[in-house]
Symmetry: C2
Subunit: 350 residues, 2 copies
């Protein structure tokens, strides 16, 4: 049982302490420069302040100033940074990486290139590594439906580990899998990672339906699942089209990485809260103020994909009319529009 180093003490990176500890690994949980409060709370109380739970046995919290020490001799390095931290990770942690030590990331995102191409984060990370380490590091990632609080509560969770090498993935599976953390493997890194990023965008779209109900007022029914389900279905359809563009496998939509992860994200937290506020009729400016301090990866991914699509359409790779929901979300977030779901543009040419 070796040493595992987790870089980033946010909720998802930290939640991996539980399966790792249950498998008797020594875990070094290293905060980034943004995580100083979390780490000092962990050090003084033993309780992770965001997960509100005592860190399990064998987990030692480290400040980012102790990072070199915390990385020494690690068998696996986990990247627990958000999509905003990918540059930082490549620049700061990059020089410590070694070809024999696999990296596995919980980070979700896509980066649009000047020509409209959408790059998944393992590709982005590799591009930013020190020159001598490029294409030398095993960069893997985790997709699939997992709310960090629930993983830390040891609830049954099904995820996908994806990477280029099946053997490397099997090694990682052996290290992380428990009787509640169910890991399956995929070498379709693009397919899994595109879904992992997009689910944040589309969960915001499904969230609009909840806000629309709040705004409309009671009509004698407690729930509002038909509109949510219609938005869920249109989300799956647009995800399928984006997989097609990016050469990811479209079958990813119809199990853990796509529909499964979208399901959890719809109910999971800040993305839904933002969607609900927008659906109630707040402007994005007002909604963002209400959620001050929250990392809004959904906004970032919507913006990036919406910026890429016209370029991809101009290159003949796709058509704008295939993405009415995503483009409406972009209008709301970046162009001051109010919610007005373009139902007539939905569900065309499945």
């Amino acid at each position: 049982m070796g040493e595992i180093t987790i870089i980033g003490a946010g909720m998802m990176g930290s939640a991996l302490c539980w399966p790792l500890s249950d498998n008797h690994h020594a875990v070094r949980l290293v905060g980034t420069f943004l995580d100083e409060e979390i780490i000092s709370a962990c050090q003084s109380t033993g309780i992770h302040p965001k997960l509100q739970r005592r860190l399990p046995q064998g987990v030692i919290p480290f400040s980012y100033q102790q990072m070199p020490e915390a990385l020494r001799g690690a068998e696996v390095i986990v990247s627990g940074v958000s999509s905003f931290g990918v540059d930082w990770f490549a620049r700061t942690v990059g020089p410590f990486l070694k070809p024999a030590v696999p990296v596995i990331a919980v980070t979700k995102g896509l980066e649009d290139q000047p020509n409209g191409d959408l790059h998944i984060l393992p590709v982005v990370t590799n591009d930013r590594l020190p020159e001598d380490l490029k294409d030398q590091i095993s960069l893997n990632a985790i997709g699939g439906p997992c709310i960090s609080h629930e993983l830390a509560a040891r609830r049954h969770t099904g995820v996908i580990f994806c990477g280029k090498e099946l053997q490397e993935l099997q090694k990682l599976q052996n290290i992380f899998a428990t009787n509640y953390y169910h890991i399956r493997l995929s070498i379709d890194v693009t397919g899994v990672e595109v879904c992992a990023a997009l689910k944040n965008a589309y969960a915001l779209g499904v969230g609009l339906a909840m806000g629309m109900m709040d705004q409309q007022g009671p009509d004698g029914l407690a729930n509002m699942y038909n509109p949510q389900a219609a938005l869920f279905a249109q989300s799956c359809l647009e995800m399928r089209r984006l997989l097609h563009i990016t050469d990811g496998g479209v079958e990813n939509v119809s199990w853990l990485p796509g529909a499964g992860d979208l399901f959890v994200t719809v109910f999971g937290g800040r993305t839904m809260r933002l969607g609900r506020l927008l659906g109630q009729g707040l402007s994005f400016y007002e909604a963002r103020q209400r959620l001050a301090g929250e990392t809004l990866e959904s906004v970032e991914i919507i913006t990036r994909v919406a910026r890429a699509l016209p370029k991809l359409a101009a290159r003949g790779i796709t058509r704008l009319e295939d993405f009415p929901l995503l483009l409406h979300l972009d209008q709301i977030i970046n162009h001051g529009k109010v919610v007005n779901i373009p139902w007539n543009d939905f569900f065309l040419e499945a």
Copy 2:
């Protein structure tokens, strides 16, 4: 604006009165022999007792004894019977059908044949029609996520009308579509209908996770989405495999008919209530007693598919290990087993 006759005054058939009335059609809502109480309540109060809502303008309730009169001159006939009523419909309504009058059904189900083949209900209905009408009647069906209460509340709802002839479907779309009832068309009748049936089976599977949480007791977290999402993902995967067997298009899983309809059914009512009771540890016998009087189509579809699979496997058409969730549900329902999710058998070979 012609006359539309709906046969069956259950919730889903009756909910179609709202878009039809909004399109200024005259609607004849005809109860089956099981719906006498509903019809007499509608006739005396104007309120549909199951939907708890006043029937909209232009809808006239008819007893089944008045059926010949209610069918006379109908432009379209809607079959609103449950899957248990397909024989009755073919035998009783069949003789009144005419080649020029399309039928559209809300009924969901699959019928297993002695050799294991699974037949969709439009095929079953056609087989049971009077000899001279076989293959002469346009038999269409509705799939996609729609809770009847919400349709009657005129909430945005996205559905698929499926049938063999696109022109016929366009005619039906013109009759039913409103600014809240969004209809898309598909000539993949098998794909849509297999999803429509299976979602009832798999919603029961997702429901188990809720009951498992109830049984386990509080652990500080209100929700339990990771296990639900994992079951949702496995459901989508098994639906995809069943579409493959039945020659339905697998892409149906990743929009309205599959993931969309499963989403709504998970939250929608009796199927979830049954799953939750089973997840709490009740035997199927006990759970069924608690739900006395409810039509349990989920149980029927699980039983039929589980009966077909070994025959299909013996014929080399599929493998039993591809359906661990469905076969576990069958064990619970038909063989007295308690819930014990076979996680290790899930998510293999996506």
